[in-house]
């Protein structure tokens, strides 16, 4: 009799624990992230990116070390926290990837089509952009996000990005805002950040790029946007296009004031 009561008690306790684990998946995912953070494979991409930055490549056999990311030629530290920004030499607002393409063309003599052939990697076919972005963003870790929007073209890009964020279209009549303008929305167990609120916008932008465990790849913010477009069944977001830069400018500016903390690790 005694034993049966004990068994029942144990069962009840188990049920309570199970219910707790189910009702709080966010806490479980947070624990999972914590366990992974100690050995973030993003560091492997960072190392490759640093080597790529310094390596002499292209027809002109030049490295990217003379590339101006907005804080002067070759200054990488803290540069990502101020991008996208207006560059007078190109007379255009540019995000990190676009600026890298610009430098590859101008400094290394690559053709635009060759430079942008592989924006995202898969397996052993690695993308230079993902490696470079990993290293360059790591050099902004701990820096406060500060997208100034001081140039009229920067403000123009921000406004266009905002329009894109709320623009409904495609076969599903979707907008970015359909998923990202309300609290506690999710896809399966994955929480979706509310990008219209300061906290959500900051947390989302400052944790990309990230190593995606489920893919075994390092993914950039650019990739995140492209995959959101795919999920909305929109046409592909063109790499280094004004539309892509505008949306990035909108989301980066909304993260102003937050401490940049990537490359992160995500499931």
């Amino acid at each position: 009799m005694m034993r049966r009561t004990m068994a029942a008690a144990v069962l009840a306790a188990g049920a309570v624990l199970g219910a707790a684990a189910q009702s709080n998946p966010e806490a479980e995912i947070a624990k999972y992230r914590e366990a992974l953070a100690a050995g973030n494979p993003a560091e492997l991409w960072e190392a490759r990116g640093e080597a790529l930055w310094k390596q002499k490549r292209g027809p002109k056999a030049a490295s990217l070390e003379a590339c101006d990311l907005g804080k002067g030629a070759g200054v990488v530290n803290g540069a990502y926290a101020e991008l996208p920004r207006y560059f007078a030499d190109a007379d255009r607002v540019m995000d990190l990837e676009t600026r890298l393409v610009h430098c590859m063309v101008a400094l290394q003599g690559l053709r635009f089509e060759d430079a942008t052939k592989r924006p995202f990697g898969a397996g052993t076919n690695r993308s230079d952009f993902e490696s470079l972005a990993a290293w360059i963003t790591a050099e902004s870790r701990g820096v406060t996000m500060n997208v100034a929007l001081s140039h009229p073209k920067e403000r123009e890009a921000y406004q266009l990005g905002e329009k894109m964020f709320y623009f409904r279209g495609g076969p599903h009549d979707f907008a970015c805002a359909t998923c990202h303008a309300e609290n506690s929305k999710r896809i399966r167990l994955q929480d979706l950040p509310n990008l219209t609120e300061k906290a959500g916008a900051q947390l989302a932008y400052t944790t990309w790029p990230a190593y995606r465990v489920s893919q075994g790849e390092l993914r950039t913010f650019q990739w995140r946007l492209n995959d959101c477009y795919r999920q909305q069944r929109f046409p592909d977001l063109k790499f280094a296009s004004d539309a892509s830069i505008a949306l990035t400018a909108f989301l980066a500016r909304n993260a102003n004031g937050a401490t940049f903390n990537a490359p992160a690790i995500k499931r």
Binding site: A38, G39, L44, A47, G123, T124, Y211, G216
Partner: protein
């Protein structure tokens, strides 16, 4: 040529804590590619850590270990400034060794 490992080794109270990130595909041999063909198994099968020539860890790995594996272990007897070397070997016979200094 495989990418270098990232190794960190720190001594505290006579115990050295070693953290290693390895860059490897770690294919299980169970997956199929887009055309339905099996992706051949390719994984690290042996890991060795040596401290001043003395083996402090030796491990046999299989396909169950994740892609880009992370390994952390402790050993006694190391001092700051000592060298520690890690070697992995995979089932295709490819191998890589990287070294670092304990700090």
């Amino acid at each position: 040529m495989a990418d270098p490992m990232r190794i960190r080794a720190a001594e505290r109270d006579g115990v050295v804590n070693v953290k290693i990130l390895m860059s490897h595909e770690m294919e299980t041999g169970q997956r199929k590619d887009g055309s339905g063909k099996i992706v051949p198994a390719h994984f690290i099968s042996k890991v060795t850590a040596t401290h001043q020539g003395r083996t402090v860890l030796s491990a046999q790995w299989g396909p169950a270990v994740a892609k880009n594996p992370f390994l952390e272990f402790n050993f006694k007897g190391g001092k700051k400034g000592d060298r520690i070397a890690i070697t992995w070997e995979d089932n295709k016979g490819e191998t890589r060794t990287d070294e670092t200094t304990i700090n």
